[in-house]
Symmetry: C2
Subunit: 420 residues, 2 copies
């Protein structure tokens, strides 16, 4: 199945739709048992998964893929065990389905409830690591949704093996096998068909780089949840503890530069610039970070690379950072509004008033006060798991856990109530 | 401003964006005072609004518009007073902005809160009555959003007058005047530009017929909330009180046939068909309703019009109803899943088990148990006001009140917290 014709993709989507109808009313116990069956099967059938993965890794190596990418693609027995444990962890999380979000009796005696229900069919389009295949399947299954998985072609053989193992594990559990499906085809066309499957697919969640996400947002008629692009800023206010500011900046930039909640820009209030910028430049240089600064930052060191307009916008995901001196907290906010991606911005300040103002004015999914941007994460927030970080305002914003994979349904019960 | 070039529409959207930034942090008192200023201005300047409305009505009359449509278009002093009162009512509702949706301290000591914040810039594309212009502006303003209003060209002069009066009323209140704007142009092109203004507009809410909504859903790159198409069904279960079933069916169909929560289909379990269908046909005929039935319904009366495939799908909005006899509750659900619009379905039953099963299996925004479908409504649900009824699963489902016009923002506060 290397093609993915429109008919094939729509057929898979229709099977997902039917599975979703059967999945929705299933009690938690059935879903959790199915998740444990999947976890067990992943270790039991490790050999065949690793064999398929070796095909992907070999193909990537021959194609000249860089070492760190090969590492991301590679599975091992240990990694598979960790993936299986993550599935068991999802089984242990509370079931969001059926939660009573609202409930009261109306003046006319009608009993009104708003219940959490699955979204239905969730399409996930993702790049890179094969562990996402299992993570996404576990989270969507737990939340009562059928999933259509469309991973990157580089991990195609691994994904086929993982999905086969998961589907086999579902047989006999009470969860329909078609709750977990791979979208046929490894070409771009199959993604297009998925994006036009409105009515069969309830939501698409693209996970990956900016170009993948933008193309899905542009072309999809299925509702999309944008995730993950993070051009995050750290703003050091006029009143800030220099040591705290320095530690937060270094942590946000260097603790794991390749992820969306890493800092890509720092902004410094002019009143503290003389004290802070030289310290920051030295510490960043020490960590091997290249600073792309405006003129006022460049004045402090010849090592600063002059920043272009592009530097303010870009998500480096590398040991690079853009930097500017600003005249006020408001100017920092203006910069963030103009260039940020609405993911996470941090303020370092000892002023309660400045913190409050920054929180009120910054229009991002998360705002950190005296903390590293790196904490914007479902696990860190205590959600137990994460399907992605939404940078849009509709439906879900910020880290998305299980409740964010649900919708709601109103139920009202009367005794022959009529509208007058 | 009868054209609406791309530049003009984007300029208006950009002004809305700037206004939204100023609006977001405003306290409730400022917004409520602005709403009262709008309400007062609507009565004080009634003469000029009515004069503009007369232009629309005259143009429509000359164009041969039907009497009931002319009535919907027409304003009067009394109607304006009612519109102003509705604005005062919105001022009295709780402010959703700033509400603490979630809040706890993480194990590492970070204080995490999830706060309700405005969406930003909301575009409303609507047909018909000019009162929507004011309702939509009041609800978006109260929830801290800037609104871009795009009404029907038939109400263009009325809308221009209403928006002018509202904008004048905002001057000096602290709410930016550009919080309320009319999208320039009365042609289809201006709607297209609005639908492509991603990044400037946060959400589009089309309110109107199926063709308007479908075209927005198909073409928009701005996220859309689908509203209002209602192909609602009443299912009479094998065990049902015939009198209750009859009253609910008649109320759901005839109490106000032109609205989205009116019933368009009824389904009857075969075990109760002999008892119920003749009663239903007689009562519906009595109210002037044409029944489009399947063969099993048609067997009860020569007046039944044979139903076509189209009859199962259509939202009549008139004194017509489709009808079928089904073999089971599951078949009723199958029919609804195949043909319904996901708005509201009702079951009439004395069986607790059947009610529970219907609620679990039906995948619609609202499910009514022994009550008329007509209750799916923001006012009836106690929300105080309604911007529309969402029939999609993302973000909001069912009647949307003020909280549904907001997003959220995570704020986490530490003391120099770093990720390890």
């Amino acid at each position: 199945m290397s093609e993915g014709t429109r008919e094939q993709v729509l057929e898979v989507a229709a099977r997902g739709r039917a599975a979703a109808a059967d999945l929705a009313p299933l009690p938690r116990g059935v879903k959790d048992a199915a998740l444990h069956a999947i976890a067990d099967a992943l270790t039991e059938r490790a050999a065949e998964i690793l064999k398929a993965n070796e095909v992907d890794v070999e193909r990537a190596r021959e194609g000249g893929t860089e070492a760190y990418m090969l590492d991301r693609l590679s599975l091992s027995r240990e990694r598979l065990e960790a993936i299986a444990d993550a599935v068991r962890n999802v089984a242990g999380l509370p079931d969001p389905v059926g939660e009573n979000v609202r409930g009261y009796t109306l003046p006319n005696g009608l009993e009104l409830r708003q219940l959490r229900v699955p979204l239905g069919v969730v399409g996930i389009i993702y790049e890179g690591r094969p562990n996402v295949t299992v993570d996404a399947a576990a989270l969507t299954l737990k939340s009562g949704n059928a999933v259509l998985l469309r991973g990157s072609s580089s991990a195609y053989d691994s994904n086929v093996a993982l999905v086969n193992v998961m589907r086999d594990a579902l047989a006999g559990t009470g969860v329909p096998v078609d709750a977990v499906q791979l979208v046929p085809g490894r070409d771009r066309e199959s993604v297009k068909h998925l994006m036009r499957a409105r009515g069969l697919v309830d939501v698409l969640i693209p996970r990956g780089g900016a170009s993948l996400i933008n193309s899905v947002v542009e072309e999809s008629t299925v509702p999309v949840i944008e995730t993950g692009v993070g051009n995050c800023a750290v703003y050091v206010d006029a009143q800030a503890d220099l040591d705290v500011a320095l530690k937060i900046l270094i942590n946000a930039k260097t603790q794991r530069p390749s992820v969306c909640n890493a800092a890509e820009t720092f902004l410094v209030h002019r009143d503290i610039a003389d004290a802070f910028v030289p310290l920051a430049l030295a510490a960043l240089a020490d960590k091997g970070v290249t600073v792309h600064g405006d003129e006022r930052v460049a004045a402090y060191s010849a090592d600063v690379v002059p920043a272009t307009e592009e530097d303010w916008r870009v998500e480096y995901l590398s040991l690079d950072i853009a930097a500017a001196v600003v005249d006020s907290l408001e100017d920092a906010v203006k910069h963030i509004r103009a260039y940020g991606s609405g993911h996470t911005e941090a303020i370092v300040t000892t002023s309660q008033q400045a913190a409050k103002r920054f929180v009120a004015l910054v229009d991002s999914a998360a705002v950190a006060v005296n903390a590293s941007t790196r904490f914007t994460d479902g696990e860190e927030f205590g959600f137990g798991a994460e399907i992605g970080i939404s940078t849009q305002k509709l439906h879900a914003r910020g880290p998305m856990g299980l409740p964010e994979l649900t919708s709601t349904k109103y139920v009202f019960t009367g005794e022959g109530h009529l509208r007058g």
